[in-house]
Protein backbone atom coordinates (compact mmCIF):
# COMPACT_ATOMS: atom_id res chain seq x y z
CA UNK A 1 0.00 0.00 0.00
CA UNK A 2 2.95 2.36 0.49
CA UNK A 3 3.97 1.78 -3.10
CA UNK A 4 0.44 2.63 -4.18
CA UNK A 5 0.52 5.76 -2.03
CA UNK A 6 3.72 6.86 -3.76
CA UNK A 7 2.24 6.05 -7.16
CA UNK A 8 -0.82 8.28 -6.59
CA UNK A 9 0.73 11.03 -4.46
CA UNK A 10 1.48 13.24 -7.45
CA UNK A 11 -2.19 13.00 -8.48
CA UNK A 12 -3.30 14.75 -5.29
CA UNK A 13 -4.22 11.55 -3.46
CA UNK A 14 -3.37 11.45 0.22
CA UNK A 15 -2.85 8.08 1.92
CA UNK A 16 -2.87 7.43 5.65
CA UNK A 17 -2.87 4.43 7.96
CA UNK A 18 -5.14 4.40 11.00
CA UNK A 19 -3.78 2.25 13.78
CA UNK A 20 -6.52 0.27 15.54
CA UNK A 21 -6.58 -2.36 18.29
CA UNK A 22 -4.33 -5.40 17.87
CA UNK A 23 -6.22 -7.94 15.76
CA UNK A 24 -4.18 -10.92 16.94
CA UNK A 25 -2.57 -9.97 20.25
CA UNK A 26 0.12 -12.24 21.60
CA UNK A 27 2.91 -12.33 24.12
CA UNK A 28 5.14 -10.03 22.05
CA UNK A 29 2.54 -7.45 21.03
CA UNK A 30 -0.20 -7.41 23.60
CA UNK A 31 -3.61 -5.76 23.55
CA UNK A 32 -3.56 -2.07 24.43
CA UNK A 33 -4.30 -1.03 27.97
CA UNK A 34 -3.11 2.51 27.42
CA UNK A 35 -2.29 4.90 24.58
CA UNK A 36 1.38 4.29 25.36
CA UNK A 37 0.84 0.58 24.54
CA UNK A 38 -0.78 1.63 21.27
CA UNK A 39 2.02 4.05 20.43
CA UNK A 40 4.67 1.44 21.21
CA UNK A 41 3.11 -1.17 18.92
CA UNK A 42 2.50 1.39 16.19
CA UNK A 43 6.17 2.43 16.28
CA UNK A 44 7.21 -1.23 16.07
CA UNK A 45 4.86 -1.71 13.11
CA UNK A 46 6.24 1.34 11.30
CA UNK A 47 9.82 0.23 11.78
CA UNK A 48 9.23 -3.41 10.89
CA UNK A 49 7.06 -2.74 7.84
CA UNK A 50 8.84 0.44 6.69
CA UNK A 51 5.55 2.30 6.53
CA UNK A 52 6.05 5.68 4.88
CA UNK A 53 2.45 6.83 5.06
CA UNK A 54 1.28 9.04 7.90
CA UNK A 55 0.21 6.79 10.79
CA UNK A 56 -2.70 8.09 12.85
CA UNK A 57 -3.76 6.52 16.12
CA UNK A 58 -7.40 5.98 16.89
CA UNK A 59 -8.34 6.53 20.53
CA UNK A 60 -8.22 3.70 23.05
CA UNK A 61 -11.97 3.05 22.67
CA UNK A 62 -11.63 2.65 18.90
CA UNK A 63 -14.15 5.41 18.20
CA UNK A 64 -13.15 5.87 14.55
CA UNK A 65 -12.54 2.17 13.95
CA UNK A 66 -15.96 1.23 15.33
CA UNK A 67 -17.73 3.93 13.33
CA UNK A 68 -16.23 2.62 10.10
CA UNK A 69 -17.14 -1.01 10.75
CA UNK A 70 -14.41 -2.32 13.06
CA UNK A 71 -12.83 -4.82 10.64
CA UNK A 72 -9.12 -5.55 11.05
CA UNK A 73 -7.78 -4.46 7.66
CA UNK A 74 -10.33 -2.47 5.69
CA UNK A 75 -9.64 0.34 3.24
CA UNK A 76 -11.81 3.34 2.46
CA UNK A 77 -11.50 6.07 -0.17
CA UNK A 78 -12.99 9.47 0.57
CA UNK A 79 -13.45 12.26 -1.93
CA UNK A 80 -13.51 15.96 -1.18
CA UNK A 81 -15.98 16.77 1.58
CA UNK A 82 -15.91 13.21 2.91
CA UNK A 83 -17.89 11.59 0.12
CA UNK A 84 -17.30 7.85 0.48
CA UNK A 85 -16.23 6.44 -2.87
CA UNK A 86 -15.04 3.03 -1.75
CA UNK A 87 -15.20 0.71 1.23
CA UNK A 88 -13.58 -2.68 1.29
CA UNK A 89 -13.64 -5.31 4.01
CA UNK A 90 -10.05 -6.32 3.19
CA UNK A 91 -7.17 -4.36 1.72
CA UNK A 92 -5.98 -5.26 -1.76
CA UNK A 93 -3.61 -2.74 -3.33
CA UNK A 94 -4.70 -3.79 -6.82
CA UNK A 95 -8.36 -3.29 -6.01
CA UNK A 96 -7.70 0.09 -4.36
CA UNK A 97 -5.68 1.21 -7.40
CA UNK A 98 -8.51 0.19 -9.68
CA UNK A 99 -11.03 2.10 -7.58
CA UNK A 100 -8.77 5.16 -7.38
CA UNK A 101 -8.54 5.41 -11.14
CA UNK A 102 -12.33 5.54 -11.26
CA UNK A 103 -12.50 8.16 -8.51
CA UNK A 104 -9.89 10.33 -10.24
CA UNK A 105 -11.78 9.99 -13.49
CA UNK A 106 -14.96 11.10 -11.74
CA UNK A 107 -13.24 14.05 -10.08
CA UNK A 108 -11.85 15.21 -13.40
CA UNK A 109 -15.16 14.94 -15.24
CA UNK A 110 -17.43 16.08 -12.43
CA UNK A 111 -16.42 19.66 -13.12
CA UNK A 112 -18.03 19.42 -16.55
CA UNK A 113 -21.32 18.68 -14.77
CA UNK A 114 -22.00 15.79 -17.11
CA UNK A 115 -21.49 12.89 -14.70
CA UNK A 116 -23.92 11.78 -12.01
CA UNK A 117 -22.74 9.77 -9.03
CA UNK A 118 -24.61 6.66 -7.90
CA UNK A 119 -24.25 3.78 -5.46
CA UNK A 120 -22.82 0.45 -6.60
CA UNK A 121 -21.50 -2.78 -5.05
CA UNK A 122 -19.17 -5.43 -6.40
CA UNK A 123 -16.95 -8.28 -5.26
CA UNK A 124 -13.17 -8.03 -5.13
CA UNK A 125 -10.34 -10.49 -4.68
CA UNK A 126 -6.73 -10.64 -3.68
CA UNK A 127 -3.88 -13.13 -3.75
CA UNK A 128 -3.73 -15.33 -0.68
CA UNK A 129 -0.43 -15.17 1.16
CA UNK A 130 -0.85 -17.59 4.03
CA UNK A 131 2.89 -17.78 4.76
CA UNK A 132 3.07 -14.04 5.33
CA UNK A 133 -0.04 -14.11 7.49
CA UNK A 134 1.37 -16.99 9.56
CA UNK A 135 4.65 -15.09 9.99
CA UNK A 136 2.66 -12.24 11.50
CA UNK A 137 0.97 -14.55 13.98
CA UNK A 138 4.32 -16.06 15.01
CA UNK A 139 5.78 -12.57 15.43
CA UNK A 140 2.89 -11.63 17.73
CA UNK A 141 3.52 -14.69 19.90
CA UNK A 142 2.35 -18.26 20.59
CA UNK A 143 -0.99 -17.10 21.93
CA UNK A 144 -1.82 -15.40 18.63
CA UNK A 145 -1.05 -18.64 16.77
CA UNK A 146 -3.15 -20.73 19.17
CA UNK A 147 -6.10 -18.31 19.09
CA UNK A 148 -6.16 -18.35 15.31
CA UNK A 149 -5.90 -22.15 15.11
CA UNK A 150 -8.79 -22.47 17.51
CA UNK A 151 -10.87 -20.16 15.34
CA UNK A 152 -10.10 -22.23 12.24
CA UNK A 153 -11.31 -25.38 13.97
CA UNK A 154 -14.67 -23.89 14.78
CA UNK A 155 -17.39 -24.89 12.35
CA UNK A 156 -18.55 -21.28 11.95
CA UNK A 157 -15.35 -20.37 10.15
CA UNK A 158 -15.04 -23.33 7.83
CA UNK A 159 -12.70 -22.46 4.95
CA UNK A 160 -14.11 -25.03 2.56
CA UNK A 161 -15.42 -23.71 -0.73
CA UNK A 162 -19.23 -23.74 -0.69
CA UNK A 163 -19.39 -24.71 -4.36
CA UNK A 164 -16.94 -25.21 -7.24
CA UNK A 165 -17.80 -21.75 -8.57
CA UNK A 166 -16.97 -19.97 -5.34
CA UNK A 167 -13.46 -19.75 -3.92
CA UNK A 168 -12.49 -20.56 -0.36
CA UNK A 169 -14.94 -19.04 2.03
CA UNK A 170 -13.16 -16.23 3.81
CA UNK A 171 -14.78 -13.65 6.07
CA UNK A 172 -16.43 -11.10 3.83
CA UNK A 173 -17.60 -13.67 1.30
CA UNK A 174 -21.28 -14.09 2.15
CA UNK A 175 -22.22 -16.68 -0.47
CA UNK A 176 -24.45 -19.51 0.72
CA UNK A 177 -25.55 -22.46 -1.34
CA UNK A 178 -29.27 -23.10 -1.67
CA UNK A 179 -28.86 -25.92 0.82
CA UNK A 180 -27.11 -23.69 3.33
CA UNK A 181 -29.81 -21.11 2.91
CA UNK A 182 -32.44 -23.70 3.77
CA UNK A 183 -33.86 -23.72 0.25
CA UNK A 184 -34.27 -26.97 -1.61
Amino acid sequence: MDRLADQFANRAVRSVFIYTREAHPGENYRHHQSMDDKRRNAHAFREHSNVRRQILLDDLDGAAHRAFGQLPNMTWIMGRGGLIHYKSSWTSAADVANALEGVLDFQANRAKNQWALFYSERSAWSARNKDRFDEGLVRAGPQAVADYERMLKSAVFSRSAPSPEIGPRVPGNFYKTEEESGKK
Binding site: M1, F8, A12, V13, R14, V16, I18, Y19, R21, H24, P25, Y29, H31, A42, A44, R46, H48, S49, I55, L56, L57, L60, D61, A63, A64, R66, F68, G69, Q70, L71, P72, N73, M74, T75, W76, I77, M78, R80, G82, I84, H85, K87, S89, T91, L100, V103, L104, L117, Y119, S120, G136, L137, R139, A140, A144, D147, Y148, M151, V156, G172
Partner: protein, 65 residues
Protein backbone atom coordinates in the same frame (compact mmCIF):
# COMPACT_ATOMS: atom_id res chain seq x y z
CA UNK B 1 -18.42 -0.83 24.10
CA UNK B 2 -15.91 -0.47 26.90
CA UNK B 3 -12.24 -0.23 26.03
CA UNK B 4 -11.48 -3.65 27.58
CA UNK B 5 -13.95 -5.29 25.21
CA UNK B 6 -12.68 -3.37 22.23
CA UNK B 7 -9.03 -4.13 23.02
CA UNK B 8 -9.54 -7.85 23.56
CA UNK B 9 -6.59 -9.77 24.95
CA UNK B 10 -7.50 -12.96 23.10
CA UNK B 11 -8.65 -13.14 19.49
CA UNK B 12 -12.14 -14.60 19.19
CA UNK B 13 -13.69 -14.00 15.80
CA UNK B 14 -17.31 -12.98 15.74
CA UNK B 15 -19.22 -14.56 12.88
CA UNK B 16 -21.29 -11.54 11.92
CA UNK B 17 -18.72 -8.76 11.99
CA UNK B 18 -18.23 -8.77 8.22
CA UNK B 19 -21.96 -8.74 7.59
CA UNK B 20 -22.27 -5.86 10.05
CA UNK B 21 -19.62 -4.01 8.05
CA UNK B 22 -21.47 -4.63 4.79
CA UNK B 23 -24.89 -3.73 6.08
CA UNK B 24 -24.43 -1.18 8.84
CA UNK B 25 -21.14 0.68 8.36
CA UNK B 26 -21.41 3.85 6.26
CA UNK B 27 -21.89 3.11 2.57
CA UNK B 28 -20.41 4.46 -0.62
CA UNK B 29 -21.94 7.82 -1.61
CA UNK B 30 -22.59 8.71 2.07
CA UNK B 31 -20.57 11.31 3.95
CA UNK B 32 -17.87 9.80 6.15
CA UNK B 33 -17.94 10.47 9.88
CA UNK B 34 -14.98 12.33 11.32
CA UNK B 35 -13.02 11.66 14.49
CA UNK B 36 -9.90 13.14 16.07
CA UNK B 37 -6.79 11.00 15.67
CA UNK B 38 -3.27 11.25 17.02
CA UNK B 39 -0.38 11.65 14.61
CA UNK B 40 2.18 9.02 15.62
CA UNK B 41 5.09 11.14 14.41
CA UNK B 42 4.20 14.45 16.07
CA UNK B 43 1.69 13.60 18.80
CA UNK B 44 -0.59 16.28 17.38
CA UNK B 45 -4.32 15.87 16.78
CA UNK B 46 -5.57 15.35 13.24
CA UNK B 47 -9.27 15.63 12.44
CA UNK B 48 -10.30 13.12 9.82
CA UNK B 49 -12.40 15.71 8.00
CA UNK B 50 -9.23 17.74 7.45
CA UNK B 51 -7.75 14.80 5.56
CA UNK B 52 -10.38 14.98 2.85
CA UNK B 53 -10.93 18.72 2.88
CA UNK B 54 -8.81 19.29 -0.18
CA UNK B 55 -8.85 16.06 -2.13
CA UNK B 56 -9.02 12.29 -2.31
CA UNK B 57 -7.87 10.31 0.72
CA UNK B 58 -7.11 6.59 1.00
CA UNK B 59 -7.48 5.28 4.54
CA UNK B 60 -6.24 1.86 5.52
CA UNK B 61 -7.13 0.57 8.98
CA UNK B 62 -4.92 -2.00 10.65
CA UNK B 63 -2.41 -2.97 13.31
CA UNK B 64 0.92 -4.74 13.62
CA UNK B 65 -0.75 -8.02 14.51
Amino acid sequence: MIKEQYNYSEFVATPNEFLEFAEHAPRATMRAPSFPLEDLATGGTVEMKDLWKTGITVIEFGSFT
